[in-house]
Symmetry: C2
Subunit: 366 residues, 2 copies
C-alpha cells in the first residue's frame, strides 16, 4: 500500500495521482485571473470532490465552491467547507429536507428552474427554519436545465413571493466548454451572454434587480469574464486539466493550465506488438475519449475494463513492470472512480508522496 | 435513504437496482446450461463484485468465481468466497505477496503469460508457504494478454519447473463477446478453439497434459461449450444483461437472459422539448454506449456527468419528479460506480426493496 514518503516509482497501481506543484500553479493562475478582474471565483468541486482541495481554493481567494448534488454538499461540509452552491435543480422532497438541514449549518445556495422546485424548496426551508440563496437557472444555449430567458422574470417573482432570497441567475453553457477553437467557444458564449442579458432584462421588467450572474467553465471563462455580465466564474477543471480540455485552443493572453492529474499504471503483459497496462475503464473514464500516455511517444490503442493496450510510436514499447503515466480524457468521472488521491511533490519521475487525500464525495450521487 | 421494505417508487435516486426475480432466473438458466453439458461454471465476479452474489452462484453449482485483480479477490474472500481464479496476470511483487497471503487461506488460481511472471509468482508462494493453481494464458484472437499458442508448452514447462501447479490454459476471447450476429461470434470462437487446440498440442509436445481449458463469456459461451475443448465457462454478464449484450443475436436453442440490473433516476428538470434526469456518467458507464430507457418509448438523447436528457418518441415526455428506469450500456463499470445494490422483489413498478447489498469490490483495482 502506498504511503507518505514513498518514491513515485513505488506508488501501487492503478493510482490517481496529483502533481501538487502543477496543481498549485493552476490554482494560483485562476485565482489571479479572477482577482485581477474583480470577479468572484467559485470553483466547481464536482470535479475534485475533495474538501481539502476546496479549502485550498477558498484560501487562495475563492468565495466558496459549487457542487451538483446535495450529497456532495454534505460530504464537503463534513470536511469543513462552509459556503456551497448546488448549481443544479433539486426536486425530491427528501433531498430538499437534507438540503435544508445543511442550510442550518453552512451557507447554501441552489438553482431552480420550475415553479414546483421553488415551492418545494420554500417548504423545506421553512420547515427546517433555514435560509438559502436561490438562483434562477437560465438555458443559455446548452439545451439542458434552465428556463428560457424571457421566463426568468416570472420565475424570479415566484422565488421572492415564496419568501426565498433571489441571489441571481445561473447561466452555464456546458457544451461551449468543449469546442476546439477559441472562435467557436467565443461565438457560443456571445450567444450565452446575450441570453443572460435577456434574462436580466426579464427580471428588471418584473421589477427585480439581478444581484449576480454566475456561470462559465474552464473551456470558456475568458469570454464570460470579459462580458461585463457575469460576476462569478464556476470553472473546475482548470485545476487538473484533462486531455480533452488541453485539446482546446487558448486565446493569446488567456491563462494556460498544466496537467496535474494522472493515473499511474504498470505494464502487466507484453507481446511483440503491444504492451498491456493494468488500468482500464475502472481506473479512468472514457466518455470524453481515451487517456493519453504521458512523457512517452506511445499509442494508446484501446482499453477494456481492467486493461489498456499500448503500441509503439516514436518510443519503443515499455517492458514488463514499467510504470506508465496517463492523462485522463475527462477528470470528473475519472476522479469519481477512486477513493483517494496520491499527492506527489517533485514531479512524476523522481518525486515523492507528500499526502494521501480522500475523494470525499466519491459516489455522492443523491 | 432507501430502506428494506420501501416500495420501489420510494427508492432514492440515482440508485443501482437489481430485479432479484429476473437475476435468479438468469442464474438458474446458466447453471442448468453448464450442468446439462457437464461443464464447470466459474462466473466472472469482476462484473458484480459482490460476495453475496458469488455465493448464490456457487450455491447453484458454480465451482467458484473469477476476478481480475488481487484486491477483488481479497474483498470477495473477506465476504466468504473460498475458490477464486484471478484470470489475469499479476506482475508487481507486492501484489504477488498479497496473492500468496490469500492463497494461504482460500483456493487461489492465477494466470501467467511471461517467464518473469512465473518466477515472481513461484517466489511469492514459496516465501509464504502457499500453493496456487497456475493457468497459462493463450492469446486466442483478442490481441491483449496471453502467449502465442505455439509458446504455451515452453511457458508451461517453466511453470512446472518452478514447482507451480499447472492447472491448464486460460483462453478468453474478449472482443468476440460483442459481435452482433451469432455467425460472427461463432466464427471468432471457431478460430479461438483452433488456437486453444494448438496450445494444448504445444503442451503435449512438451510432455505435459492440459488438465483444463477455461474461458468464454456471455456473448460466446454456446460456442465454447460445444467445442469439446473448453471444460470451464467464465461468463459473468448473463446475470444482469446490459443493453450491449442484449443487442447480440442469440442462436435458436441457446439460453436467453433478462435485464436484471437497472439505474433508477428521476426527472429533475423539464422543458417543452426534453426532460432532464438526475443520473449521468457518475451513475452509469457509457464506454459501450448510452443506457436505454426501460418500459417507456423515450429517446435517450445524451448525457453529461450528473444529467441525462430524454426526448419524446412513442411516449410523451415524463413530468418533473417522475421515475425513469435505465438499462445500463455496460454492467461491469456501471456497478463499479456504486457502493451498494438496492435489491428488489416483485418488479420495478410495484415491487418492494428486499435487501441492500454492498458492492464489496467496488474500486478494488490493485
Amino acid at each position: 500500500m502506498t504511503q507518505c514518503g514513498d518514491a513515485t516509482d513505488a506508488i501501487d497501481t492503478p493510482a490517481l495521482v496529483i502533481d501538487l506543484d502543477a496543481m498549485q500553479r493552476n490554482l494560483q493562475r485562476m485565482a489571479a485571473f479572477a482577482s485581477d478582474r474583480n470577479l468572484r471565483l467559485r470553483p466547481h468541486a464536482k470535479m475534485h470532490k475533495s474538501a481539502i482541495i476546496a479549502k485550498l481554493q477558498i484560501e487562495a481567494g475563492a468565495v466558496g465552491v459549487c457542487v451538483q448534488k446535495v450529497e456532495e454538499a454534505e460530504s464537503l461540509a463534513a470536511g469543513g467547507v462552509h459556503d456551497i452552491f448546488i448549481s443544479n435543480e433539486v426536486i425530491a422532497p427528501h433531498k430538499l429536507a437534507r438540503l435544508a438541514a445543511l442550510a442550518k449549518r453552512i451557507r447554501i445556495a441552489v438553482a431552480v428552474d420550475s415553479e414546483l422546485g421553488v415551492q418545494r424548496l420554500a417548504q423545506a426551508l421553512q420547515c427546517a427554519g433555514a435560509t438559502a440563496d436561490c438562483f434562477v437557472e437560465v438555458d443559455v444555449g446548452q439545451g439542458r436545465c434552465g428556463v428560457a430567458p424571457a421566463a426568468a422574470g416570472a420565475l424570479a417573482l415566484q422565488v421572492t413571493a415564496a419568501g426565498l432570497h433571489l441571489a441571481g441567475l445561473q447561466a452555464y453553457h456546458g457544451t461551449a466548454q468543449h469546442l476546439r477553437t477559441a472562435a467557436q467557444s467565443g461565438a457560443a458564449i456571445e450567444t450565452a451572454v446575450a441570453l443572460a442579458r435577456a434574462a436580466q432584462a426579464s427580471l428588471l421588467a418584473a421589477g427585480l434587480v439581478c444581484p449576480l450572474v454566475t456561470g462559465a467553465g474552464t473551456g470558456s471563462f475568458e469570454f464570460e469574464a470579459a462580458s461585463g455580465v457575469f460576476g462569478e466564474l464556476q470553472c473546475g477543471s482548470y485545476l487538473f486539466m484533462d486531455r480533452d480540455y488541453a485539446e482546446n485552443q487558448v486565446s493569446p493572453g488567456a491563462p494556460r493550465f498544466e496537467h496535474a492529474l494522472f493515473v499511474k499504471s504498470q505494464v502487466m503483459s507484453r507481446a511483440v506488438s503491444h504492451a498491456v497496462i493494468d488500468a482500464g475503464h475502472k481506473a479512468y473514464a472514457v466518455d470524453s475519449g481515451p487517456p493519453r500516455v504521458w512523457g512517452r511517444e506511445l499509442e494508446f490503442a484501446g482499453c477494456s475494463d481492467e486493461h489498456g493496450v499500448l503500441r509503439a510510436r516514436g518510443d519503443a514499447l515499455p517492458e514488463l513492470g514499467e510504470s506508465i503515466w496517463l492523462v485522463p480524457g475527462h477528470c470528473d468521472p475519472t476522479v469519481n472512480l477512486h477513493d483517494r488521491y496520491v499527492v506527489v511533490r517533485g514531479g512524476l519521475a523522481h518525486g515523492q508522496v507528500e499526502a494521501l487525500w480522500r475523494v470525499d464525495a466519491r459516489g455522492a450521487m443523491a
